[in-house]
Symmetry: C2
Subunit: 464 residues, 2 copies
C-alpha cells in the first residue's frame, strides 16, 4: 500500500513537472509569437538613431535620449518611471581630425583615416609632427625604453586575432593598446599615440573608444591619441618597414569639458508576491558621437524597454519586480551605473538577477552569467535548468561575463547575466560611423527581446 | 591477472579515444584558424556577384559563371576538374513589369511594385486588366469555384507566419501560393494571378521565384503571374476591403525560350584509401535574374569551392574522394542535379555523404540531415557523435531536410546533409533585387566554409 502511495505520488509529481514544463514551453512560444508581431523595439530604435543619433555623455543628444526614452516608458502604464541623476564627463571631438604621413620617400604625403580616441586630449591648433615608432604591445614600449620612445609618436599595431570564433575574445586581446597604450607611451616620453583599430575587419573605417588616464605616471602630461583604420595601419606599417624614418602629422582639437548633470532612465513593474526581489533588464543610453549608436547600445536600450512593453501587451503580472534601467555614460566613465549601484545599496535593494544587453542586436545565441563566488554554484545550477526550455530558440546558457554596468551590483549576490548575440558582425561597426540603423535587422532585434523576456519569465516564476 | 589486463586495455582504449578527440579538436581549431585567414570564398563571391551578377539558367551570365568557377577550381591543383552537360529551360523576364490599380474610388490609380514569377508566361504587349479577387489559400479558390473566379485576377495574400523562429518554416507555409496558385486559379477560369511575396519582412521589395505548371488541368492555358511586395499586398487588400470592386492592370513580357545547353561544374580530390566513397559538397550556380544571386546561392557555391581550396592550403590528403559540385538550374528546373544523379547512378557511384549549402551565407548554426530509412538510424547515430567536436563552434547536428539538388542521390543510401545558417535575414533578400554582395558578411561566410570543412574532415576520418 505504502509503495502504491509512493508510486502514485511519484507519478503525480512527474506529471506535475511535465505539465509545468508544457505550460512554460507554451508560454515561451507565446512570448516569441507576440514579440515578433508586436514589439516596439525597432520603431523606438529608429527614432533613437535617426531623430537623435550619436549621444555621447553630456551632449544635447544624450539629454534628448533621456527625455525620449522616459516619455516612451511613460506610455506603457508601468508602476513607476523616473530619472536618476549622475554627473558625467563631457568630452567633445572638436574639428574633423586630420592625420598624414609627411614626405615619405616612397609614397610622398599620404592621408590616413583616423578618429581621436574618446577622453583624449587634443594636439592643439597646430597639430603635432613627429617620427613614428611601431610596437606590438605595451610591454614592447617598456622594453624599448625612454631613449627610443622619447619625442616619438608610438604606433600600436597588434591586430585583433581574427581566428577567434568569439569576436569579443579577439577584441579583448587587442583593446589594451587603446585603453592603456597612450599612458604607457607617455610615461616613456612619447608625444602622441596612434592605435590600430580593434576590429575583426580589414577596412578603411577608423574606430574610436575610450582611452584612460589611470596608468599615467605622476606628473606626466596626457598625450593626444588617435585610432586608425586597419587598412591604413597596414599601409603605415609597410612604409615603416621600407623606410628608416617616417614622420606623421596629426591634428585633433578634442577636449574634456566640465562634468555635466545627466540621468539614468528607469521604469518598473512592481512584483505582486516578492516585490523586493528585483530582476533588472538594462542597456546604456549614451553612445559614441560618430555613427548613431545603433548596436552600441541602442539595441540594448530597446531590448530592455520592449521587454517591459511586451509584459504589458501580454498582461503579464510578475511576482517579482521587473525593472528596466537605461544607464548613462557606459562608454567613457560609467558614472550612471556607479550612481545606480550606490543608490541601490543605500536603499538595501536586492537584485536577484540583472540582465544586460550590450553586445549588439544580432540573433541571440544565449546568455552568460557570473556572480559572487558564495552564491554562484547554486544560482548557476538553477539558471542552467532553464536551458531545456530555451534551447529550442537557439539559446545556450553558460558561465562567463555579464556586462560593465550591472557588474557593480555583484555585492548584492544576485546573478549577473549578459545577453550573447551572434558576434560575427559586431566589430565591423563598433565605435564607428557605421554603427547605424541600416545595420540592424528588425527580426534579429526582436528575437533579442523575446529571449530576454523568456528568461525574465522563468526567473520570475522559479527564482534562482 | 585477467582483470588487470582487461582494466589496462580499457584504460588504454579510453586514453586512445581521448587522444584522438584531442587531435580532432586541434585539427578543427586549425581548420577554423586557417579558413578565417586564408579562405578565398569572399573574393570569389565578389567576382561572381559584381563581375557576373544575376545568372538565370540559359543566360550569358550563367555561362560566364560556369567558366569562371571552372577556371577558379583549375587554379587549386585538384585531381580533376570537369563540366557536365545538361539542357536547361531558359526563361526571360523581358521588359520591366508594370502593375497598377486602375481607377480605385478612394485611391485613384496606384502603381504596385511587382516582379513576374519565374517560368510564367507574359501578358502580351497590351497587358491585362481585370477585377481582383483576394484569397488566402489554394483551397479557397476551389471553394469559391468557377463562377467567382472566372475572368478575374486572383490575389493570393496569405502572409508568411512571422512568428516562426525558423524563417524557412514561415516561407514553407506560404510558398505553395506562388508555386501552385496560378495553376489552380487558371483551372477555375482566372486570367492572371498576383501573389504576396513569401517573406518575413514588411517592405516594398517584390520577390520572384518559380511557379510551376504541374497542376494545370489538361487543356488549360497558363496564365500570367506576378509577385507583389508585402506593403503593396497590404495596400491592395485594404482597398479591396473598402471598395466593392477593384480593377488591376498588369503587363509582363516574360517568356520561356527554347532549352539551352548548360553545365554543372565539378572538381575533386581523389581519396587515398577509399576513393570510391564520395563526400560531395555543393551549391547551385544559377540564380534569379534580379539581384546578384549572392546568398542564393553564390555563398553556397563559394562554400563548396573554398572547402576544397582550404584542403589544398592545409595540405590535407583525404582518405575518401571529396567532390565539389556546382549545380546548374536549381531555381527553375533542377536539370543540373537530375543530370548529375543520372550519371552518378549509371557509373555505380556511391556518395557516402552529400552536403549542400543553399540557405544563405550567414553564421552557421549547424547541419540537418536525412537518408533512406534503411540506413538512417545507423548513419545518424554516427553523425551525431561529431556534435561534441563541433558544438564549441556553435554547430548543432539534427535530423531534418538537406537540399533540393542532393536529394536526388537518396537512392545511393548515403547521408544527405544541409548546412543550416542563421535564417533571420535570409528572406529579406531571397529572390529579390537586394540579394547582393553588400548583404554578405565576410566572416559569416568564412565560418560556413570552416563548418563544412570540419564536418567533411570528420566524415572523411571516421565514415558514417
Amino acid at each position: 500500500m505504502k509503495k502504491i502511495i509512493l508510486f502514485s505520488l511519484l507519478i503525480s509529481t512527474i506529471s506535475n513537472i511535465q505539465a509545468q514544463n508544457d505550460t512554460d514551453a507554451f508560454k515561451i512560444k507565446d512570448i516569441y509569437s507576440e514579440t515578433l508581431t508586436k514589439s516596439q523595439a525597432y520603431p523606438w530604435l529608429y527614432s533613437l538613431t535617426t531623430n537623435i543619433g550619436g549621444r555621447i555623455s553630456g551632449s544635447p543628444e544624450a539629454m534628448a535620449a533621456v527625455e525620449y526614452t522616459r516619455q516612451m516608458l511613460d506610455t506603457l502604464g508601468l508602476d513607476s518611471v523616473w530619472i536618476q541623476p549622475c554627473y558625467v564627463p563631457h568630452w567633445e571631438r572638436g574639428d574633423k581630425e586630420q592625420a598624414r604621413i609627411v614626405n615619405s620617400k616612397t609614397m610622398g604625403t599620404v592621408d590616413l583615416t583616423i578618429l581621436a580616441l574618446g577622453n583624449s586630449v587634443g594636439t592643439g591648433n597646430n597639430g603635432i609632427t613627429a617620427e613614428v615608432i611601431e610596437v606590438q604591445s605595451l610591454d614592447e614600449v617598456e622594453a624599448l625604453g625612454r631613449e627610443k620612445i622619447k619625442g616619438k609618436i608610438v604606433f600600436f599595431n597588434r591586430p585583433a586575432d581574427i581566428t577567434q570564433v568569439n569576436t569579443f575574445a579577439a577584441y579583448g586581446g587587442a583593446v589594451d593598446q587603446r585603453v592603456h597604450g597612450p599612458a604607457i607611451a607617455a610615461n616613456f616620453g612619447a608625444v602622441g599615440a596612434i592605435i590600430r583599430s580593434a576590429t575583426t575587419s580589414l577596412d578603411d573605417i577608423p574606430h574610436t573608444g575610450v582611452t584612460v588616464d589611470s596608468r599615467y605616471n605622476k606628473g606626466i602630461k596626457e598625450i593626444p591619441s588617435i585610432g586608425v583604420s586597419t587598412i591604413d595601419a597596414d599601409l603605415l606599417s609597410r612604409i615603416l618597414k621600407q623606410e628608416k624614418s617616417v614622420n606623421l602629422y596629426f591634428r585633433t582639437t578634442c577636449a574634456m569639458m566640465g562634468d555635466k548633470l545627466s540621468y539614468n532612465v528607469i521604469g518598473e513593474i512592481k512584483g505582486s508576491e516578492l516585490p523586493n526581489e528585483i530582476i533588472l533588464v538594462g542597456g546604456h543610453l549614451d553612445s559614441w558621437d560618430v555613427g548613431q549608436g545603433a548596436h552600441d547600445d541602442g539595441t540594448g536600450v530597446v531590448h530592455a524597454m520592449a521587454t517591459l512593453q511586451m509584459m504589458k501587451v501580454m498582461n503579464y503580472q510578475p511576482k517579482r519586480t521587473i525593472r528596466c534601467v537605461l544607464f548613462m555614460n557606459e562608454e567613457n566613465g560609467q558614472q550612471g551605473s556607479t550612481a545606480y549601484a550606490k543608490a541601490s545599496n543605500k536603499n538595501n535593494e536586492f537584485h536577484l538577477a540583472a540582465i544586460e544587453s550590450d553586445k549588439g542586436g544580432f540573433t541571440p545565441r544565449g546568455f552568460g552569467c557570473e556572480a559572487d563566488s558564495d552564491v554562484f554554484p547554486e544560482r548557476f545550477a538553477k539558471f542552467k535548468k532553464f536551458e531545456e526550455l530555451l534551447s529550442p530558440y537557439g539559446l545556450d546558457l553558460s558561465k562567463g561575463g555579464s556586462g560593465a554596468d550591472i557588474s557593480r551590483l555583484k555585492s548584492q549576490k544576485g546573478l549577473l547575466i549578459g545577453l550573447i548575440p551572434d558576434s560575427q558582425r559586431y566589430f565591423d561597426v563598433h565605435h564607428t560611423a557605421s554603427d547605424n540603423i541600416e545595420n540592424v535587422n528588425k527580426r534579429e532585434l526582436d528575437m533579442g527581446v523575446a529571449a530576454i523576456f523568456s528568461l525574465v519569465y522563468l526567473i520570475d516564476q522559479y527564482g534562482l
